[in-house]
Amino acid sequence: MDILYRIFIDPFVQMGGAPDLLVQTLWEGLVGGVLYALIALGFVLIFKASGVFNFAQGIMMVFAALTLVGLTEKGVPAPLALLLTIGVMYLLAVAVERFVLRPLVNQPDIMLFMATFGLTYVLIGVGELIFGGNPKKMPTDALFLPSGAIDLKILGGLVSLQKLDIAAAVIASVMVAGLAIFFQRTRIGRALRAVADDHQAALSVGISLNQIWIIVWFTAGVVALATGIMWGARSDVSFALQVISLKALPVLILGGFTSVPGAIVGGLIIGVGEKLGEFYWGPLIGGGIESWLAYAIALAFLLFRPQGLFGEKIIERI
Amino acid sequence: MKDDILLAVRNVSLSFGGVRAITDVSFDIRKGEIRAIIGPNGAGKTSMLNVINGFYHPQEGEILFHGRARRRMKPYEAASQGIARTFQNVALFKGMSTLDNILAGRTLKMHRGFFWQTLRHGPALAEEIEHRKFCEEIIDFLEIEHIRKAPVGSLPYGLQKRVELGRALAMEPTLLLLDEPMAGMNLEEKQDMSRFIIDVNQQYGTTIALIEHDIGVVMDLSDRIVVLEYGHKIADGVPDAVKNDQKVIDAYLGVAH
């Protein structure tokens, strides 16, 4: 009975007992979720336009952040470094298109998936070769990112909102909005949407498939950079961040591989879910369950809706 | 013999998310006959086959096989009751050889368990060889000796269709469903395939239901024909009757409705 109490009653008692903590937990979950969502967004962009399940999105994030930090450490002014990094991400997109996607066109999806594994290893190696394996500090000030916290004394307690986290949320919203406009309003964006449905249709818009790939990968690279800056500012920029990026995978399951809103909503659900789980239920089984909770949530979800939250129902044709 | 009804479709309706694929269709297939289902594109022919072998479950109506009614049946149950099938777009196991594909059709007839399978000696091997013999008869029958060990993915389309037929035959079906067995074939290949279909029907007494676009072939091959249009049955009968049916002529000439 005690067990049942601790599982089903106690956590809620705690929530009620310290609403400020609950709010804080939710906030932390939301912020974490936003960052997961950003990584997932990169996945979705690429998957939507090229059908490639880009496992390298995580390492792209690390690589982008490392490049930025590496450049600033070399004394390049931060804004310039930012531009240069964007340039590097563009070159990366071109290289990926030229050396990975183009030769692998028409290969089964799993091959492209594996190729992004190879890409991951190459980027890790190159990244470490150039920047070394040391964790690096994100020059938040130089990038005009706020620091410090806003402390709200509410609910009989204190809810502390890091300005950085707020910035992350704002940037994420801006990016999503920007991408939405890009997809809805621009010619290239429409082509990108078309390519997801029909490669031929895209060609009729007058953009070659290769260009589209470059654009998508570049866009994903920029998203990765933004994500990298945020994560880097929260902890340090190091290759260990890549493991965290795996968290975007359950987000994808939840949101569906092709849905931008799905990535956002999925990210938030996963973020909040795992924080609540870890905070209120984790201690029951010794804590540290965050490492798999997200996957478990996604898996449970998947069993009921195999195509994800926003994915289209798969009708099998024969 | 020929009047025994093997399979009856009774008032079957099927829809996908509101889109009607089949509406209240009934017909039957007699033992030992070659039954054709024809109709313009999108008439619901393939859906009908999918209903028969349990891949789709109709919202209304029922299917009687050997006189027993069923509404929901899994495809593998259909298989174990003796319904085999080929596909419109060849659905072979591309990574396997011709022989392995045909042997795969014997799966239901093979019973040696996991233990013997790991050893691949004694009973498992004996069983494997026994079924190999059976498959060799099919290979001989379909005249595909020369591609016995070739991976099917690399075979020309016509041969793939033949292998697929072989795989279905390996199941020793009572009812064989052929979905456009001659699509994309040239004249000679069509003649060969027609010969095989007739031989199967005669030699093994297999009942055959087939979908085919080549009306000439259908008229030659089949004993009776069902004509579907937009999911409705518009005619049913022997080739001559169907050929002269006004509705059928309209459907094929595309008279406005």
């Binding site: - | 022989l99 008869e137 290979i139 001989d140 000796e145 020369h146 016995r148 031989d199 005669q202 030699q203």
Partner: protein, 676 residues
Amino acid sequence: MRIAQRATARAHDEGERKVAATARPAGTEDTFPKLLRHHAQVRGARPAFRHKDRGVWRTWSWSETYDNVRGLAQGLQTLGLRAGDKIAIVGANRPLLYWTVTAAQMLRATPVPVYADAVADEMAYVLENADVKIVAAQDQEQVDKLQSMADRLKLLDYILYDEERGLRSYDHARLRRIEDVLAEGRRALDDDPALARALDESIDAGTADDHSIMLYTSGTTGRSKGVVLAAGRSVAAARDTVAFDGITDADEQLAYLPLAWVGDHYMNYAQAFVAGACIACPESADTVQEDLREIGPSFYFAPPRVFEAMLTRVTIRMEDASALKRRMFDHFIAVARKWGEKILNRESVPLAARLHYALGEALVYGPLKNVLGFSNIRVAYTAGEAIGGELFSFFRSIGLNLKQLYGQTEAFLYVTAHPDGAIRAETVGLPAPNVEIRIAADGEVQFKSPGQFLTYYKDDEKARETMTPDGFVRTGDAGFFEEDGQLRILDRAKDVGKLADGTLFAPKYIENKLKFFPNIKEAVAFGDRCDFVSVMLNIELTAVGAWAERNNIAYASYQELAAHPRVYELIGKHVDEVNAALAQEPRMAGAQIKRFLILPKELDADDGELTRTQKVRRSFIAERYKPLSDGLYNGADIVDISTEVTFEDGRKGLISGRVKIVDLARHDAAGKERAA
């Protein structure tokens, strides 16, 4: 095929073959059934027949074969086959069909193998002419053909078939499955010892004078004739050559040639029955090459066109190889050409060359022979037509002991054969054992041989014409003996003519020289009583097609390719080379080719342009393509032609187009070129 096949033969799984200790040539038996009985007793467990069926090589030992043949004989007897009756065999190489031959011989009936690809009319003629009572056919296709001509064959009682598919629903009043006949016969023999005794007696009663077989010659002119061969003579002839080539029961050969051809009957039936060797039947015509590789025969016989096709395939496949590999291949083939034949002939060769050759053996020749299925071959023969020197020496140089023989149906094959160590492409060798040869005054080759035929069936008149009064057989071929005693064949005696200026004109000789080029499939030479020699050519579609592909020449049909100017250029070079070669030969220098053209369609036996053995029917072609043959001699450069063709499915159609005729420069006898 589910015929008795005991475990004995299974010991030879995986193709392991051991020389049986009991190997010794058969002795006194003078008929094939007696030979069979002998082997069943002496080497009962040794494999006699193999057939790739349902994916594996089913094998029957000699004793199983004997049992099966006896059963079949009994079954045939039940169906009414008696001594002196004729039974036709139509189909591909199948143990059951071979057994039918022996079973008939057991009953002292005469088997008559018929070309399976013959059109109904031809076949009907043969069956009618031979007074066939029963036909053993392979499958539905043959049965259908036979039934279509049933009204013409008054004597025909039964049609037997091997493969049941498609036939089940046929009216079985006069239709039997060979297997069933065999099974019934066996049952009868088992049930009734008297029958078995009677059969034994029938075997014993067989004499050397029995009509062992009747082979219909295709004949370049007129209807084919049934060559009647006697049992004793056949066995004696085979016995001689078995000894000559040392064939034993360890030998194995692939039977893939038409049953009705003397080559197959001699090599795959008579010799095997004498020596106790094993006969392997391929799975289907499509798989012969593969089956050859699997079986790996030790004795091999093929007409030149088979070797030619093989070399063509080798060349084409090598064209697609990487540059490095091609260079290696070319290098070692050059080495082989230089030393290979010498090594094969056991001449003295420098050690360095031997080593070089050994390296080539490891890298090229060995693998090549492996891919072609030649690795185990001890002796290979070619016959039927002249073989190109290049072609011949190519196979010899890579270590295949290929020899030529000259033979005739009337001789029961062997007239001459190459002895080991003295092998030249131009000659056909020394007289075979116990064969006497002489050159008649008009240059015709005449012989007397142990296997010599008895007569032509129902045509003693013709037979008498063929024989000289002193018992020699006229071959109809013109030839002469070289200094070393080897015979050299020029052409059909009646075809050898003279140009208007009296120069000797041997059309076949020129045609063969042309056909030795892989790009030329057929050649028809004209010139008798004309001012000069001219030829009509067929290109080899595979070879020229591959060449065209490499040279970016687009074509839609054979006709288009044949008329392509660059193809003309290519073929022109070949013809010119032939001229250069002819110029080197004193007898032939005058008969160089002055004009040639490439025919817009492939010559085809179905159109009567070739015989069933793929020999050109010169006069028929000249007549059929009259505008062209006229054009060759009236100086026209371009001639329009339209001609009827028969498609594969039997439909007829019309082909029309314009054909270009090309003039060539002449080589003088010293080899230098001078204006024509």
